[in-house]
């Protein structure tokens, strides 16, 4: 298998970033993120860390993204400059959970009726270099959500990690193209691929979507949402959450319309102009978020809206999270009638 020494990582990244913006897990103060390689110091490289604080979804679905510009003059209105980015990007070191999340976003943005132009442009331009996940962390539960931490799904190249080397396995045409670029840096070597230690945290989701169909009115939602404070942390750090708002940047006679992440946790999210709000209470909003991930997403797209990355376990201010919710839902007895 082709491979490069771990010590040569900066050379490899330099080569990749020469032609293409390359997002690499980087430390940023007390947080970490996938950031362009050229913008940070090598000492910030956080390849050894587990999941980044923020998910890489922003690369294909930026938190704030300009859609088009407009100009108004009296009664006249003009729309111009649509801003679908066509540039190429590389995502380096994406674990199976984050790649699974991309697959879920693809379902939302590329299928079921309409294709989202901006998302598609960014997604088509993205080459994903995945990596084995040998030591899932104490908050990881991806294999319970049907993700194989050592799997190759969603990767154009898969990095196999050993003590000294990264094995380089191109899986798609995009991956082959990168291989050509790195050819002189890669050496052929026999690598023994270690096994993943697997996730220590487990949840049982067998039959959950079906069970949840009968649990809409369960008092468990009041109980679970007691300490939810309806901030948007979970939705913003979640790699699958994809709700957005479309807003205007108004400079008077001109401006642009942009979209930005929105959160189903906010009271204003469902508020209609007339004042009616179908999900007025925080219980309603909390329930909708978890049913969406565990039931509705499954019904609509055939997979869970959660990849088990565990970010919400680390980040929720009141330690409410997917694992806690799934476990509690599992305990509840549903009257079969």
């Amino acid at each position: 298998m082709k491979s490069f020494a771990k010590s040569a990582i900066t050379v490899v990244l330099d080569r990749l970033a020469e032609q293409t913006r390359t997002y690499v897990p980087m430390r940023d103060g007390v947080t970490s993120n996938f950031s362009p390689w050229s913008e940070r110091r090598a000492s910030d490289l956080a390849l050894n860390s587990l999941n980044t604080t923020f998910s890489p979804k922003g690369i294909v679905f930026p938190q704030t993204e300009r859609l088009y510009d407009f100009a108004v003059d009296g009664q006249r209105a003009d729309i111009s400059g649509t801003h679908a980015e066509t540039g190429e990007n590389i995502l380096f070191g994406a674990r199976a959970c984050d790649r699974k999340a991309f697959a879920a976003l693809d379902q939302v943005f590329l299928r079921r009726g309409y294709v989202d132009t901006n998302y598609k442009a960014r997604r088509d331009g993205l080459t994903v270099i995945g990596r084995d996940c040998l030591q899932p962390g104490p908050f990881c539960f991806c294999d319970s959500m049907g993700v194989d931490p050592m799997g190759a799904d969603g990767a154009d190249v898969l990095l196999h990690e050993t003590t000294e080397e990264f094995g380089w396995e191109p899986l798609t045409e995009k991956g082959q193209a990168l291989t050509l670029r790195l050819n002189d840096l890669l050496t052929e070597k026999e690598l023994i691929r270690p096994e993943s230690a697997g996730c220590r945290l487990e949840v049982n989701v067998a039959g959950l979507p079906e069970k949840l169909r009968g649990m809409f009115d369960s008092p468990v939602w009041d109980e679970l949402s007691t300490f939810c404070m309806n901030c948007g942390v979970c939705t913003y750090i979640c790699p699958v959450c994809h709700c957005f708002d479309i807003q205007v940047m108004n400079n008077g006679s001109s401006g642009c319309r942009f979209r930005c992440w929105d959160s189903c946790m906010y009271p204003e999210y469902n508020l209609m102009a007339g004042g009616h709000n179908p999900r007025e209470g925080k219980r309603d909003r909390f329930r909708n978020r978890f049913l969406h991930k565990l039931e509705f997403f499954q019904e609509r797209y055939g997979s869970f809206g959660c990849s088990g990355c565990g970010r919400c376990l680390v980040t929720c201010p009141h330690s409410l999270n997917m694992v806690l919710v799934i476990n509690r839902l599992g305990e509840v007895k549903v009257d079969a009638s």
Partner: protein
């Protein structure tokens, strides 16, 4: 407010607090002229103008 803005990097003169009674038209005019003069002297405040929205 003034202190906070200055602390965050905005010049003190960009923010004014003045007591003006409803009957003090001349004072109002003078103060407003002062506001404009201060702003012109300081020039455009780039801090709140983002590259993101440059058109």
């Amino acid at each position: 407010m003034k202190n906070l803005l200055e602390y965050m990097g905005f010049e003190r003169e960009r923010y004014h607090t003045v007591w003006i009674s409803g009957s003090e038209g001349e004072k109002f005019a003078a103060e407003m002229t002062g506001v404009v003069e201060d702003a012109l002297r300081l020039g455009p405040c780039r801090k709140m103008r983002d590259e993101t929205w440059a058109i």
